[in-house]
């Protein structure tokens, strides 16, 4: 059996947990699937954007939407480099994460979507709308994960595709940050804010999972601990719950140690070091750690975020906190503008050390 996080993922609109307001909205959209606008889900990681979008599609197309298969598609860039992209699809939808492609995402968007759009058009001509069962084949849904990391170019290309093929394609964009989406895309989509569950909701969901898996929970305080450490990220919370349950023979006590992802622990240790040992040699050692985090493909922006907020907690005086957050914002921007994250991460650490020395 799969992980609990997949096992207990709601599969239909009726079973969605938390934020009933949103569920109502989606249900009203599902009433008239013909009218489905392009959608833009936004909200923090692990809030359930994907789950909601799949549930919506399930209510439109039926459970065939979960018959996933995966293809590797090849693209050729103008400079003749070959790119490979995983495309997950069901008979009714298609899912891509073009941000893996870096600067070449525009080509992927253009090529792939054009292909899909035209393929569907052919379908149209061969079978009349009524015979093919009406709704199901009228359009295909394209889910774009991490749409906020699309380049401007790709977004502009997407905007054109949206208009050109709006008859046969519906887009569902998922993103964490709305700020990097260009205005024309925002104005063409129905914006769906997906808030993360609050601590109470998280605890409720966790205890439900624990109950069905026959995990004995000594006290809710341990669940509270988990949900607080996960900060509304339900995915992380359930994964933590499962690994802790297995670690403790399916019996969670209040004293059971909290399991955090190793990279978070590493960053916390680094934070400690930055505060305690402010020297050049300390920076050098941090660099080795940073490089290993990067080698494990932890995004640099996540590293700086974790680091900054850990520092904000660690640092006592308000003056120092002001310094930390100011420099975090500066180096966070430079991360987006530059192309070698290591300079900026190490630069941030050095800045913070100086700020604390002052």
């Amino acid at each position: 059996m799969s992980l609990w996080v997949d096992k207990y993922r709601p599969k239909s609109l009726e079973t969605l947990s938390h934020t009933s307001r949103l569920t109502n909205l989606l249900q009203s959209l599902a009433v008239e699937p013909r009218d489905l606008p392009h959608l833009l889900f936004y909200g923090p990681n692990g809030a359930g954007k994907k789950t909601r979008c799949m549930s919506l599609l399930q209510s439109i197309f039926g459970s065939g939407i979960y018959k996933l298969k995966i293809d590797v598609r090849q693209f050729t860039t103008p400079s003749n480099r070959k790119l490979e992209l995983n495309v997950v699809s069901s008979p009714y939808h298609l899912e891509i994460t073009p941000s893996d492609m870096g600067n070449n995402d525009r080509i992927v968007i253009q090529e792939l979507l054009k292909e899909v759009a035209q393929m569907e058009q052919v379908d149209f001509q061969t079978g009349s709308v009524a015979e093919s069962g009406g709704l199901a084949h009228r359009y295909k849904c394209v889910i774009i994960n991490e749409a906020d990391s699309l380049t401007r170019d790709a977004q502009a290309a997407l905007r054109r595709t949206m208009e050109k093929y709006s008859r046969n394609i519906r887009f569902i964009l998922l993103c964490e940050s709305m700020s990097s989406m260009i205005a024309p895309i925002k104005s063409r989509c129905l914006l769906v804010r997906t808030p993360a569950p609050n601590t109470l909701e998280t605890i409720e969901i966790l205890s439900k999972v624990a109950k069905s898996e026959r995990v004995s929970v000594e006290d809710e305080s341990i669940l509270k601990l988990i949900s607080e450490s996960c900060d509304g990220n339900l995915r992380k919370a359930i994964l933590t719950l499962e690994s802790m349950a297995l670690n403790n023979e399916m019996a969670l006590k209040t004293t059971s140690p909290l399991i955090r992802p190793d990279w978070v622990v590493v960053i916390l240790k680094m934070t400690n070091r930055i505060v305690k040992d402010r020297s050049v040699s300390s920076i050098v050692e941090c660099r080795s750690t940073l490089y290993d985090l990067l080698a494990h493909c932890i995004p640099a922006k996540v590293i700086i975020q974790e680091l900054a907020f850990a520092l904000m907690k660690e640092v006592r005086s308000d003056e120092h906190r002001l310094g930390v957050i100011t420099w975090a914002s500066v180096f966070d921007e430079r991360l987006c503008l530059g192309n070698k994250p290591i300079y900026h991460l190490e630069g941030f650490i050095a800045r913070v050390m100086c700020e604390l020395d002052a």
Binding site: Q27, P37, G43, P44, A47, S179, S329
Partner: protein
Amino acid sequence: MSDGFFAKRQKVTHAQSLSIEDSKPWVEKYRPKKLEDVTAQDHAVTVLRKTLKSANLPHMLFYGPPGTGKTSTILALTKELYGPNLTKSRVLELNASDERGIAIVRDKIKSFARLTVSKPSASDLENYPCPPYKIIILDEADSMTSDAQSALRRTMENYSNVTRFCLICNYVTRIIDPLASRCSKFRFKPLDSSNAISRLKYVASQESLKFDDGVLEKVLDISQGDLRRAIMLLQSSSKLVKHLDPPLITSLAVDELAGTVPNELIDTLTTKIASMDFNDIMSCVASLERSGWSGAAVTNQLHEYYINNDQFATRFKNAVSWIIFDSDSKLTNGGNEHIQLANLAIRVANLYRKGM
């Protein structure tokens, strides 16, 4: 074949015809049909009406903020000039969604421009002026590349006997000088709120919408004088509440759709900032983030709050607007929302602390 099949089929076709009616964007549906219908652009309309009489049209350049009726005006004008039959052969409309590189200017625009005008039918001649030239409308012309623009210049000159151009743009400065100097310019002012409200009311009554008090004002407020955005917003919120009982549009729904943060949340944040407790501020920002509010929207609304608030001194406003500018630019560059928002809040709080 079974009855069931036919029943299904009927249902589908029925639903289809409905949907076409339904899904037509209101922006198109309520576009002004005649020049007189264009609201609040008296200057442009008067001039254009004169040309309508003389049937002699210069090249035109419409500029102004979005949603002020530029496209509507030119479309209405062409309708009045040519009537429904002739419009198709006489008018070419290209907007930003079409590729408009230099190749398009060379091929598509040029080949249309050099066509000789077709003969209008007798009935058209009776009802419409049908002047002997074609019109090419280039919507969002400011997004054309400058080499495409300069290629256009030649085309404009060469075929001016049979073709008139109408360029539409938001920023007149982005049109290269040689092009701008060949056109008579019309500036479209932002709509004043009374005009816009009456238009929204008209749409709402036509669609028999039910709404809370102040919703239309809210819609207008959010769209900042952009009538198109306002109408689109109205349409999507009506769609949202269609299946509710009663289908009442609330300002909360409008807020949600537009992605704006409810004022209560902004108020909480600003009080926290004023209290200068960094811990409180951090947790407040974290909860905003957790609820998924967009950082850009929060920044915008904080800007409104601080700048349009008379209780603050100018010096303070200066400093705040600098901080907000900084955060906004970092966000636009792709910065992390949480970090940037926290930075914004803490730095404003620090201004309080410095006693500004």
